[in-house]
């Protein structure tokens, strides 16, 4: 990584969007360093530091600051538009330079020039270290390039079992839902004590065949309908009406001995 030449730097894919116009680009070609190929001011400082050819820990930060300021000057001469962070770094380095050159002022607060220089050297060393290990990392054997995974993986078949759950609350709510819904049934007349003509007719049609002789129609009343007077009245009326219906159909005969006497019914022989 350390042997990279500036020319090569420009080949790296720039992370930042193109900042230069075509004209500027032409001008930049002439410049020793393509600024756009750099990854920020720290990157430039690192590249410049290589000219010192010393351990980064023993680097002359003052010399480096001067080199950077010179670089910025040159870029300005070439009317190369530098990004703000490059200029911020220039300003900071100019400040650092003055601190390093002037004897320390004991009344002044904050870190000394030496401390700042040490930190800058640390930053450069750390960035260089990261680049070195990045290169080592990328140089490792890689999956799909140097070693390989199973070419035809056998698919794991998924067997899905579904289990159902319900809680006691679900159950109770379900039941409550049904029971309360019952109360919402549409309104219908309560026909509990009403014996209809249809019911009577159905019953008599079934029974009439068994009764050969005259039988009182009251005996055709359904079981249990003779206790409650309301029910008795309804059943009597329905049975009488049904009897008339049967006579009309020619299936039965009716007779009554006297007024209010019991009404009798007899099946009419179809052959007659």
């Amino acid at each position: 990584m350390t042997s990279e030449t500036p020319k090569k730097l420009s080949d790296w894919t720039a992370e930042k969007p193109e900042r230069l116009s075509v004209e500027d680009r032409m001008a930049a070609e002439a410049l020793i360093i393509d600024v756009d190929g750099f990854e920020g001011p720290l990157d430039i400082l690192l590249t410049l530091s290589r000219t010192q050819k010393v351990d980064l820990r023993k680097i002359s930060v003052l010399q480096l600051a001067q080199q950077y300021l010179l670089f910025v000057e040159k870029a300005k001469e070439l009317r190369l538009e530098l990004a703000a962070d490059y200029l911020v770094m220039a300003a900071w380095l100019a400040f650092l330079k003055s601190r390093l050159l002037l004897p320390p002022d004991p009344t002044e607060e904050g870190p000394t020039g030496e401390e700042l220089a040490v930190h800058l050297a640390f930053q450069l060393e750390r960035l260089q270290a990261m680049r070195d290990v990045a290169a080592r990392l990328m140089g490792r054997d890689r999956l799909g390039r140097d070693f390989f995974a199973r070419g035809s993986p056998e698919m794991v078949e998924r067997v899905k079992t579904v289990t159902y759950t319900a809680t006691l609350l679900d159950l109770m709510q379900g039941y409550a839902r049904i029971r309360t819904r019952d109360e919402f049934r549409p309104f219908v007349l309560d026909r509990e004590s009403v014996y209809t003509l249809e019911e009577a007719l159905g019953r008599m049609r079934g029974l009439i065949g068994f009764a050969g002789d005259w039988t009182e129609i009251m005996s055709y009343l359904p079981e249990g309908w003779d206790q409650d007077p309301v029910k008795l009245r309804s059943a009597t009326a329905a049975t009488f009406a049904a009897s008339l219906e049967l006579v009309k159909e020619g299936k039965a005969e009716l007779r009554q001995a006297d007024a209010f006497a019991p009404i009798q019914l007899r099946r009419r022989d179809p052959r007659e």
Partner: protein
């Protein structure tokens, strides 16, 4: 220099790798390849002088009885997991779903009214009970068939199972809360104005009677 001469020099420079090494190569290629590989293909990919066919014989023996076997498909070779271990290639996932509303209601009716016939369930729910719903509950072993009802048609009845009681943490179906408790628990809150028919309390009374009778058999 002629081609023949070149070949000769190459041969002496690049002697075929040892058999063990060839076996490794075949192993790696078969492993990484998406499709079965023919002997010709193997030979083409391996260094000059290799004998893939011989390496395959060794490799096949090495994998005999292992979890992975060397198999020939057509005229090509591939590595496959041993057929007896196919069960490992299945991943069983258990998905828990909520019981459907129809199933819950049916289950609730069976629990509260057991033994109860299908016709009775339908009458209470007001809709037909689908075969699937009953089958599901039977399969889950939360309900089972009870005795036949001694009425015309002798319909089969349903009752809840011990599994059901365990699932819902009930000692017996009699522990199911009655309507009064459901209401005090706020489960009957959305009841309509009590203007129609018999009051709920009466109904509940009848209910309880039913239940007692049913559970004491």
């Amino acid at each position: 220099m002629s081609d023949v001469e070149e070949d000769r020099i190459e041969e002496s420079l690049f002697e075929a790798p040892p058999v063990g090494e060839q076996e490794r190569m075949v192993e790696a290629v078969l492993f990484a390849s998406a499709d079965p590989v023919t002997v010709a293909d193997l030979n083409a990919r391996m260094p000059h002088g290799c004998d893939a066919a011989a390496a395959l014989v060794h490799l096949k023996k090495r994998y005999e009885g292992r979890g992975v076997n060397l198999v020939k498909t057509g005229n090509a070779w591939a590595m496959r997991t041993a057929p007896d271990l196919s069960f490992l290639m299945q991943k069983e996932t258990v998905e828990t779903r909520k019981l459907s509303r129809a199933a819950i209601e049916t289950l609730a009716i069976i629990a509260y009214h057991q033994p109860v016939t299908r016709a009775e369930i339908e009458e209470i729910r007001g809709v037909a009970v689908s075969r699937g719903t009953v089958d599901q509950l039977l399969e889950m072993e939360w309900i089972r068939f009870g005795r036949r009802r001694m009425t015309p048609g002798r319909p089969i009845t349903f009752v809840v199972t011990q599994d059901f009681l365990d699932q819902f943490g009930l000692e017996s179906a009699r522990d199911l809360p009655g309507l009064k408790e459901l209401r005090s628990a706020g489960l009957l809150e959305n009841r309509p104005p009590p203007s129609l028919g018999a009051s709920l309390d009466d109904e509940e009374g009848g209910e309880d009677e039913n239940q007692t009778e049913l559970f004491e058999e």
